[in-house]
Amino acid sequence: MKHVVTVASRELQGLFVSPVAYGVLSLFAVLAGFFFILGVAWFSDVVVRAQQFQAFDVLADLNLNDRLIGEFYGSMSVVLLFLIPGITMGLFAAEKVQGTHELLLTSPLTIWDIVLGKFLAGALFVLLLVAVVGFYPGLLFFYGDPELGKTLSGLLGLLLVGWIYVAIGAFASSLTRSQVLAFLISFVLLLCLLLLPAISELGVAGGGASVGAILSYLSTNTHFEELVRGLVTTSDLVYFAVMIGTFLVLTKTAVETARWR
């Protein structure tokens, strides 16, 4: 396990030497700004109208966290769904094409060293992305009084969702030597994960409520929304840990199996 950090730091260096990382970061910051401004504009518009019409019940119901920050986090989780496969697609595929995985696999590293190192690199990059997201609601503390707890638990939710996406992206990348294919595989897996509640609704018609409940429990969004609402429960945290762990084990198995073929 002692080489996890070595592998991770080389991976991050590789990421930051290439223009891709900076491209992804700037695109992400711009998109975040765009969605945030859109949210603020919509929110103030609603406030102004409600005041004009003296609609106090609407005003009482308006709340920065639920109506603005929560929506913003939701949009950014969708942006992550598109961006993270682009970051993770090279984790293993690029090593195979460069021939460097022959160096890794003939060095005294365990497969866990490699897999966890790759995941750590991706996880730290996502931490950076989430910090960028956090900057925007941070601005609101100067102009309003959002709840700190909810703001932070939502960010934690976004971070954990991003980490699941990294684990899935790493798995996809371990299956192939083509980065394009790795991107597509992880994108499709992430979409399935996102759409599970919709699938579960279809399932209720035919399959029964319990199947629906399971599918919706498996969906990342169900747990993400709880955190955005400020509810940090052990069961949600366990869900994130189990999902990340499962895909890391799958990745390790894939790397190992490729070796035996």
Binding site: Q13, S107, P108
Partner: protein, 255 residues
């Protein structure tokens, strides 16, 4: 010459199948400390596959290998620590500088923190890379990249070197340089005798560097003898190669 206990590489009945294709079939050999062995065979004979097994890149379907006393199955990390490997495709991160790359390799090869900088300096010097140490690998010529490949193989000062077609794709001058470099690397230094197995299908290369020849054809070992025995009475390696390998492939081999 082959005293028991001094043997450093031992292949025991190695076989490797890819699906239905038998790439290596029941290959055994023992290589003693300090020996430099040319691993010969036409393209597709199974040289790379055998070397990948010796280096721990992939396990054999059958049989096992012992590297410096460590079985590749029961002590994989210890076995890999004893090997320096130059794969057929150079394992380079093109965006890294030469020094950063070699430092990284030293780390993952378990070179202790304090020994790392001297180990990298020594590898740079032995491979003639000191002048380009701060250059980005992607900007180096093919010949220099090959040197970086050799440098990563020796940075942790391994007792065993496995070199897969080390002069492939180089121009004649670069070939001469790299051959000289390999000869230097394998000459005893500080009392450390390196054991080397190097694959090639260039026969003069074998005559220039090696003491012993192992020839494989279609995954089977067909010849295993000292070079001087094979070239005694004015016989040439070429005749041997033509006789012992499958004919249509043998015709493609020249130079």
């Amino acid at each position: 010459m082959l005293r028991r206990g001094s043997r450093v590489i031992e292949a025991r009945g190695i076989s490797k199948r890819y699906g239905d294709l038998v790439a290596v079939a029941d290959v055994s050999f023992k290589i003693g400390k300090g020996e430099i062995v040319g691993f010969l065979g036409p393209n597709g004979a199974g040289k790379t596959t055998t070397m990948r097994i010796l280096t721990g890149f992939m396990p054999p379907t059958d049989g096992t290998a012992i590297i410096a006393g460590h079985d590749i199955f029961s002590e994989p990390l210890a076995a890999r620590r004893c090997v320096g490997y130059l794969p057929e495709q150079l394992p380079l991160y093109l965006e890294m500088t030469v020094t950063a790359y070699l430092t990284y390799v030293a780390k993952i090869k378990d070179v202790a923190r304090r020994a790392r900088a001297p180990a990298v300096d020594r590898a740079l010097e032995r491979c003639g890379l000191t002048e380009v140490r701060s250059r980005v690998i992607g900007n180096l010529s093919r010949g220099f990249r090959q040197r970086v490949g050799l440098a990563q193989a020796i940075v942790h000062d391994p007792p065993v070197l496995v070199l897969d077609e080390p002069t492939l794709g180089l121009d004649p001058l670069q070939v001469r340089d790299i051959r000289q470099l390999i000869a230097d690397l394998t000459s005893p230094q500080d009392g450390n005798q390196r054991t080397v197995i190097l694959s090639t299908h260039i026969l003069p290369e074998v005559e220039a560097i090696c003491q012993r020849v192992i020839l494989i054809n279609e995954g089977r070992k067909t010849v295993d003898a000292p070079l001087e025995e094979l070239t005694r009475d004015g016989r040439s390696l070429e005749e041997l190669f033509a006789r012992e390998t499958t004919h249509d492939v043998a015709e493609e081999v020249e130079s």
